[in-house]
Each structure stands twice: as structure tokens, then as C-alpha cells.
């Protein structure tokens, strides 16, 4: 556990220093842990567990958009779990459950085995349609059709800088839509 937490902290520091690969590895490493916690939260609230992936993606989005609030001298795991707990509570409330989140939901998960399969959620994808056209096109290209920033720029005849800006705004708008829904 301790080793994993330290590894996350190191990866997040590298990510903040501009290491994209470290950031990708970090997110891939936290996703299964978040998934197990989301399953547990949904099950406890008597909700269908097949919505866990929606919650995982919502947490990842929040982690991404709020990462400047992480203090690089502090361990990463407590920060991550605070965001995850907040989003899980939100998600369960939206689904009409009375929520009792156990603080241990996340520490218990530390022992949970990581599911290897790639899972799909419909929720974020359904909000894509509501975005301004440019943001939608860029997000579709990168997040659905797996294009790189460069390929996306060529495909949409935009500069790479404009693609980056549209991507960032698109992610922020998605988070806003999830919050309002």
C-alpha cells in the first residue's frame, strides 16, 4: 500500500513537471482503485453497479481539472481519495440515493485486485453532443477516435495550439455538464 502511494506521489510530481507519460501511468494506475470504490459505493447505496464506470470517469476528470490544488509536498493518495469521495457522494445523490459513505471505502479498496479490462461509460459520451462544435470535434477525435493532437489538428485544419485549447475547454465543459445533470 505504502509503496503504491509513494509511487503515485512520484508520478504526480513528474506529471506536474510536464511528463505526459508519467501522468498517463498514474491515471491508469488509479483507475482500477477508483473503480473498485465506485462498485462498493453503488452496491451499498442499492444502485446498479454497471454505472461505476460513469463515476470513475467523472472522478478522473475532476482529478485532472483540479490537479493544481494538490500540494506537491504532500502525499497524493489522501488528495485523490478526497476528490473521489466528493464525486462519489455527488453521483449517488444525483441518482437519488441517501448516501452514507464510509471513510474506509477507499482504504479498503487498496487491497482490491485491479480489473484489467477496459470499460465503457455512456454518460460522458452523452454529454459530448451538448458541447460547442469545436470542442466536440476535438474531443471526439482524441477521446473517441484515438487521434493524436497532431492528427486532430490536420484533420480539422486547426493549429495544434488551438486543438489544445479546445481540448482543455472541452474537458472543463464536460465536467460542468456532469455537475449540472
Amino acid at each position: 500500500m505504502r509503496r503504491r502511494d509513494d509511487e503515485w506521489t512520484v508520478l504526480m510530481r513528474s506529471a506536474n513537471a510536464g511528463d505526459e507519460a508519467a501522468y498517463r501511468r498514474l491515471l491508469r494506475s488509479v483507475a482500477p482503485v477508483l473503480r473498485a470504490a465506485a462498485y462498493r459505493g453503488l452496491a451499498r447505496a442499492g444502485q446498479p453497479v454497471d454505472q461505476a464506470e460513469d463515476i470513475v470517469q467523472e472522478i478522473l476528470l475532476a482529478v485532472h481539472l483540479k490537479r493544481q490544488t494538490w500540494d506537491a509536498t504532500a502525499p497524493f493518495a489522501p488528495w485523490l481519495f478526497a476528490i473521489a469521495r466528493n464525486k462519489l457522494i455527488d453521483a449517488l445523490r444525483r441518482r437519488g440515493s441517501r448516501v452514507f459513505i464510509n471513510i474506509d471505502d477507499f482504504s479498503e479498496t487498496m487491497a482490491a485486485p485491479a480489473a484489467a479490462e477496459t470499460l465503457t461509460s455512456a454518460e460522458i459520451a452523452s454529454h459530448l453532443d451538448g458541447l460547442p462544435q469545436r470542442q466536440r470535434d476535438v474531443l471526439r477525435s482524441i477521446a473517441v477516435e484515438s487521434a493524436s493532437i497532431k492528427e486532430t489538428a490536420a484533420r480539422l485544419s486547426m493549429s495544434e495550439g488551438a486543438v489544445r485549447v479546445a481540448l482543455h475547454r472541452g474537458l472543463a465543459s464536460l465536467a460542468g455538464k456532469l455537475r449540472e445533470s
Partner: protein
């Protein structure tokens, strides 16, 4: 959408770095304070006997108290913008300005006075105080809330209320330069009511604006 693909999109966006909340909040306050200051000069202005007043320690104490409130609330605001923050560890900072007023009251009580304490407490500017402080706080509160939207507070109402304290501290600093009531008793009652109003507005706004 596949989670792996979302992760790819997030990684592709990793390069855009957001400034730290402290930086954003500093800029927001630097932009909002001149607005409040201009508003203050237009509506009230500095009191005419300010040169003599400056020799009165109770006049000076007002600024110490309001600035202590502003700075302690800034520190707590920055702390509360973090998702894993606990309010308990830092809330004692907010007791500093209250303790300063308390000491001021004790000191004033020990001095001989021409006017009875109730007269000093009620003063001549109670209404003006309760209306002006929220007015001069408003630009600061708006700016602070916008800056704190970059944060991820676990308790948005609380974060909003502390942003209200921050704004009220700065608004009250301006107002203190106008108000001729220098008694710590006056400050303890009427400034507190005004500060509470701004904190309440901040809490309500925070509930909507600071959720993430």
C-alpha cells in the same frame, strides 16, 4: 466512452498548467481592491480629522483588527480550496481578530471616559457601518469567489463564508478610515454584524459557485 481513451485525452491535455490558487487569488484581490477603494472614495471618503485620529490607538486598532481578519481569512481560504483540507486545523486563525477586539475592549474599559460605555457602543454610525462594509466588500467577494472556483473545496458553503470574511476584512479596512466611531465596543457589535452579513452572502454564493 472508454476510460482508457478518456485517460489519453487527459494526458494530451497535461501540458496546460493552471497557476496555483494562491497566485490566482492574489491577482483577483489586486484587481478588485482598487475598485473597492474608488467606490469608497466616491461614496464616503476618508474622515476629515484623520491626522489627529491617527494618534488615537483605538483608531489604529480598527485597522489591525480588520487586516488581521482579512489575512487570516486569506490563509484559511487557500487551505479550504484543497479537497482534503480539514477546517479544524486552521480555524483558530480566525479567532485572532476577535481576540484583538476583546483585548481592545478590556483596554478601553480600564481608561477613564467622558461617555458611558453604552453610548460608545451605539455610536453615531451604526447604520452606515452595516451598509457600507458590505458595499465595499462586494467587489472583493466577487473576485475572491471567481478565483476560488479553481479550487476543490470539500465544503463549498464554508469556503464561500470564509471568502466572505476575507472580503469583509478588506471592505471594513476601507470603511474604518471613514468611520468616526473608534471604540472597540462599536467595532465588536456593528462591524461584526456587517462582517456576518458578507460571510452569509459568501456562504450562499459558495454553495453554487464553489462546487466542483
Amino acid at each position: 466512452m472508454e476510460t482508457d481513451r478518456l485517460i489519453e485525452a487527459l494526458a494530451a491535455d497535461a501540458e496546460i498548467r493552471q497557476p496555483r490558487i494562491g497566485t490566482t487569488l492574489t491577482w483577483a484581490l489586486l484587481l478588485a481592491l482598487p475598485v473597492s477603494a474608488v467606490l469608497f472614495m466616491l461614496v464616503l471618503g476618508v474622515r476629515s480629522d484623520v491626522r489627529t485620529a491617527m494618534h488615537n490607538p483605538f483608531f489604529d486598532l480598527k485597522f489591525l483588527v480588520t487586516l488581521a481578519l482579512a489575512f487570516s481569512a486569506i490563509a484559511v481560504s487557500l487551505h479550504l480550496a484543497r479537497p482534503e483540507a480539514s477546517f479544524k486545523r486552521w480555524s483558530w486563525l480566525l479567532a485572532i481578530p476577535a481576540a484583538m477586539v476583546g483585548l481592545g475592549i478590556v483596554a478601553e474599559m480600564m481608561m477613564p471616559h467622558e461617555r458611558p460605555w453604552l453610548t460608545r457602543l451605539i455610536g453615531n454610525n451604526a447604520m452606515s457601518c452595516m451598509m457600507s462594509i458590505p458595499l465595499f466588500s462586494a467587489p472583493v467577494l466577487v473576485a475572491a469567489l471567481l478565483a476560488l472556483r479553481r479550487g476543490a473545496p470539500a465544503r463549498p458553503e464554508l469556503a464561500g463564508a470564509v471568502a466572505g470574511l476575507l472580503a469583509a476584512g478588506l471592505g471594513a479596512t476601507l470603511y474604518a478610515a471613514h468611520c468616526a466611531d473608534d471604540s472597540p465596543l462599536f467595532v465588536a457589535v456593528w462591524y461584526s454584524i456587517a462582517v456576518a452579513i458578507v460571510a452569509g452572502v459568501g456562504a450562499i454564493a459558495g454553495r453554487h459557485m464553489l462546487r466542483y
